[in-house]
Symmetry: C2
Subunit: 287 residues, 2 copies
Amino acid sequence: MIKRLAIIGVGLIGGSLSLALKKAGVVGEVIGYSRTEHVRQQALNLGIIDIAASSVKQAVKEADVVFLAVPLAAMSSVLTELAGNMSDNCIITDGGSAKGELVKLARSVLGNSFSQFVPGHPIAGTEKSGPDAAFATLYQDHRVVLTPVAETNLAALEKIRSMWQATGAEVFDMDVEHHDVVLAATSHLPHVLAFNLVNMLAERDDCDEVLRYAAGGFRDFSRIASGDAVMWRDICLANSDAILGLLEQYHQGLNQLEQAIKNQDGDTLITVFERAKQARDTRFSED
Amino acid sequence: MIKRLAIIGVGLIGGSLSLALKKAGVVGEVIGYSRTEHVRQQALNLGIIDIAASSVKQAVKEADVVFLAVPLAAMSSVLTELAGNMSDNCIITDGGSAKGELVKLARSVLGNSFSQFVPGHPIAGTEKSGPDAAFATLYQDHRVVLTPVAETNLAALEKIRSMWQATGAEVFDMDVEHHDVVLAATSHLPHVLAFNLVNMLAERDDCDEVLRYAAGGFRDFSRIASGDAVMWRDICLANSDAILGLLEQYHQGLNQLEQAIKNQDGDTLITVFERAKQARDTRFSED
């Protein structure tokens, strides 16, 4: 049970956590802060938060759990502001998509309270954002990864695990570094690839005509290029090492396919395409 | 009205055309040929064809329209076999995803009958294949591109246009070269990109674990990597020039993003991501 939950950033991710916990009956009250008053008001009106705070300081003061759901680039200023203002046993957790840089930052900003910080990442979302995009079942049957470090207080870790379990999510623990590579491979790199393709088409004079002939396959492939540009910039900058390592491998694979197409080497194409098809069909058989 | 339609290759594409024309009541009878007897029998049992032919020759002999729905690599032998065996006014059309190489091939194989060949490409499909994947509404509200050349007989072109319109498709005419670039950009290149990513993940020792954390975005992005490997090999080999040209551009774009990530240059990332997002949101507003 959480007596007072403070949510910093009441958009899709923060708002959906609040709605899920309220639905599960495991939270007393929710106080929320967002930079813009309009968003705070919207979250109040939608019943996502019970109290709108006018500052991070006010939001965290009497909270027992603080959930940070702001863009990664805003984490530094938010952590700095909450560091001096939270109560002694307050637990802090977050929903950031890249953990390495954030953990470093939290260690340096939070000082002794760093043991109360449980880094987390709910692997859920839509291409929409804002409080009106939030819904109580966003995390249902989705995975949440927690990436505790050596200093992390175990009671704090278990409290955050319970919180996510109450939303209907499956909770897993993972090393920070491993998390960042896994997410780079299945989310960050694919976004970079999709943004790059759609940008390349957008730069063509005949872009409108070209896209008119795009079928369902392209539509699915490019859906992630509708993601929020600021959020994805932040993720690319925060998880640059893992993304760059995988981009290097991706280039190599693409070069191999390019050579095969140039040399009319059908066997190499078949080998690569078959292995990909089999891996995907095995993993996502229900498609 | 088509008296006898011959379908060479009674899978998803050929089978769905037959079902759509039967439903529209614009075809007398449908004779079908596939290389394997099992598939022919299946197509008969499903009511996709009325007569199963045991050879291309038998299938086309008394047909007034022949639809070629075999993989691109099989087109050469099929065209050669039908060349000497079709009746004088028989019209030939096809469903191949790349037109340049096929038009060259047809011109050399069909001789005087080349004017009766209407190159076509229904832009529709699913990741499934075979007669049991066929359904009557596959082409409904989809685009079909016809790529007539200088020699193409106009009456033949109009007959094939009417045929596709009867399936509920919108029919457009396009230059062969333009078609091949447009399709490379919106279909062939995306498939190469998706196959390459999934293959790269499949080669990892921790592939299963990595894919366990893949969310909906990855699932959509990688869906096209479930496509038929042989079909996509054929398309890559047949449309190599257009695909290689776009791959070159794609590499350049990716290099630019790579540099931006390396240099922590958020402005470049935002510019690219925003342009991509805007192009996609504008074109696919209903997503």
